[in-house]
Symmetry: C2
């Protein structure tokens, strides 16, 4: 197994459990296994301490389960014909079955000084950032990129007392939502004191005499910044796999069949951020980096490489986060994505309440649905709102997954009680409103 | 329309909107329309004030929309042949189409002194109880019946400083859950200071010289109580409808077809707590009292009585509440219900977390699933746990609604982020565990 995070370790654990006689070796180039990259912003912001809380299972624990886990071990070459890996230290390791779970890498913009900027990808990054911020509570920060990680890190910086600027070249924050829904995210970020600058290109990280960031030069002027974090997205880490001749798909990730088998390479499996996934609505392969997919795909690969027969049924683009007290979630296609995919669609947004309106802790929430015109088939959903708003995306994900239309959805027997919803849950309210237009 | 709460008023509103020329008359014997009976415990406990907050739409508002709403108007007779209603004051009113939305009535045990006990059914009840409790903050209370309303009222009493005893003749609280899951509800109630007495029969409400309760005599001894609330469930209020010859089903509620048409009576419609509903898993009619069903059924009736063609797709027994900081939810069949219905089933319970375990506000939660043996078809789900646990029942309700099996459910693309779930949402964790047994 190349890679010791969600994809690699869940494959390893499942394979060893199914076949205790199997010799399972895991190569991890970093110093942690099975850690939550998604939790990094919460450590930076001081909500989660110590850093090791983010480790779900340590190398020692994995070893107790019979796995041979090699830390600080970077694989630099794969020889498929000889069934052999080469490591950075020059040593070689044979294999019968191979799992590639090499994850993803950041894509910093190619600008001067960017090498002095941080990322928030690994626990090593997290520890360094936290220390730097703790030592500089009156400082300033720039976060480049306003996706999930960018906004979460910006919030963490604000919690730590930094003057924080969030810069994005796009004309909206949070490109995972349509602009109308993303406006609520921007308002929440600004409400927390984050200075949001859109349509702004970052041109240079300006350094002081010690080579540390002092400011960021942008198309909108210079912004002081002792801390600069690049969160402009990631790309699948496929270097050694591609060099070995493994098939790369149109998404830029490794191509797999529905058993997580590398297309055209017997006995080679792929899981996690470096893998393609079948998108059930788009009916094509996409590359989505998310721990929950990595966990499932690793499990599928672990079952199949030990003689099982399990298919990964694909993804529909579900995602969620909590940003600046606002819950934000999506599933299926946004309106923009539906349009790009050629769906004739309708969209409707309802503003409603997280609980019965008279309950003291009720908050506003918004649900946007996208449905196919004519059939009413639900294509996508987006939610923003107060506490408890976001997880309603799962009911909508199930509706999309099972091919439900909005007319049928509005009558489903969903739960109601004043402390948790209005008489009709917001999911039903949104379905009803959308059904009128579909 | 006979009845001015959820069923009657949603039918009236929809009918008037679809056919503005229609003369729509609503007879309500009480003094409120469109109120939230489910919110009553929160007024008693002081969370929601004033009482009128529980009114979603007043008679005046309904009248602005063109409805002829008659308050304090009790219908005492229906003459189907003559198409005429008789009111308590002796007046008569003709109709072309009739909606029966008479709701439900409490079923107090037939014991001496019970007439001095309160119920928590109407806003009038709520106002009276709140005043009595506010005037007596050091007093004592007994709640008879440990269902949704009983436990919620007991919690309200504790909030108000009363020594509160909850008595049930059953050997578990909260019969809507299986005993193993209900044990958590009991622990939460006891943790709040409620004295829970199970397997205990109430024999008499003992009165003082003024005819007010002073204690309750039970099979387990006398319990002091200045306030006694009966919450032993309700029955459909079908007196005048039955007398008029409308068909009553085996559940004791009015029999309807899937268009909310009274079976065998042209131009007569039924909605809400007095109506039967088709249970999709049991494939028979049941009587469930819940505002969300009343709202939907009223809408269906309102569409159909104005020439539309809309079918109510039925119920699956979804319900939720928040009791003593514990969220409690169910959908489909409990293990007991599955057994009684003759399903060969398996059940599995997982203990997991509401959020990533390292997040500071993460709490424990439990998910119990019931699946058909062999096919793995999901038959039921129960959830107890901390904040945000309960609403996950909606994803499970959708899985049941669409006939999904637990093997398929475990791979669905549900949302993940540390502030709102573990890498695999508890729904997926539970499905995976149950799939191993099914």
């Amino acid at each position: 197994m190349i890679g010791g995070d969600a994809g690699g370790m869940s494959a390893a654990a499942v394979a060893k459990r199914r076949d205790p006689a199997l010799e399972v070796v895991v190569f991890e180039r970093g110093s942690y296994t099975s850690y939550s990259a998604c939790g990094i912003p919460f450590h930076i912001g001081g909500e989660v301490d110590p850093l090791e809380e983010l480790v779900a299972r340590s190398p020692a624990k994995h070893r107790q389960n019979g796995l041979d886990v090699r830390m600080g071990a970077e694989v630099v070459g794969i020889d498929l014909a000889a069934r052999r890996l080469t490591l950075l230290d020059g040593s070689e390791e044979p294999f019968d079955e191979l799992l590639v779970a090499t994850g993803a890498r950041a894509t910093p913009p190619p600008i001067p000084g960017v090498e002095a900027a941080e990322q928030a990808r690994t626990l090593e990054d997290a520890g360094r950032l936290r220390s730097a911020v703790d030592a500089d509570v009156d400082g300033s920060a720039v976060v480049i990129g306003s996706g999930y990680i960018g906004i979460e890190v910006a919030e963490a910086f604000v919690r730590k007392g930094l003057r924080t600027t969030l810069v994005d070249v796009a004309d909206q924050v949070f490109g995972a939502l349509d602009p109308d829904m993303a406006a609520g995210v921007q308002a929440a970020a600004e409400g927390l004191g984050i200075d949001v600058r859109l349509g702004t290109e970052v041109q240079e990280v300006l350094l002081d005499a010690d080579g540390r960031p002092r400011a960021v030069r942008t198309s909108g002027g210079e912004v002081p910044a002792r801390h600069v974090v690049v969160a402009t997205g990631v790309k699948p880490e496929i270097g050694i796999a591609e060099a070995a001749g493994l098939r790369v798909g149109a998404s830029g990730a490794l191509a797999v069949d529905d058993h997580q088998r590398s297309v055209g390479a017997d006995g080679v499996w792929v899981a996690g951020d470096c893998s393609e996934s079948h998108h059930r609505l788009l009916d094509r392969a996409v590359n989505l980096q998310l721990g929950t997919h990595a966990n499932k795909q690793g499990r599928i690969a672990g079952v199949n490489l030990t003689g099982g027969d399990l298919a990964f049924p694909g993804v529909i683009g579900t995602a969620i986060t909590r940003i600046c007290h606002l819950e934000v979630a999506r599933t299926g296609l946004t309106e923009r994505e539906a349009r790009e995919a050629g769906f004739d669609h309708v969209a409707e947004t309802v503003e409603t309440d997280t609980r019965a309106r008279y309950m003291p802790d009720s908050e506003r929430m918004w649900v946007k649905l996208v449905a196919q015109r004519g059939t009413g088939r639900l294509l996508g959903a987006q939610i923003t709102g107060g506490a408890t708003a976001g997880k309603r995306i799962d009911a909508l994900a199930l509706a999309i997954w099972t091919g439900m239309d909005v007319e049928a959805l509005q009558w489903v027997d969903l739960s109601y009680a004043p402390p948790v919803s209005g008489t009709l849950d917001p999911v039903l309210v949104a379905a009803r409103a959308t059904a009128k237009r579909a």
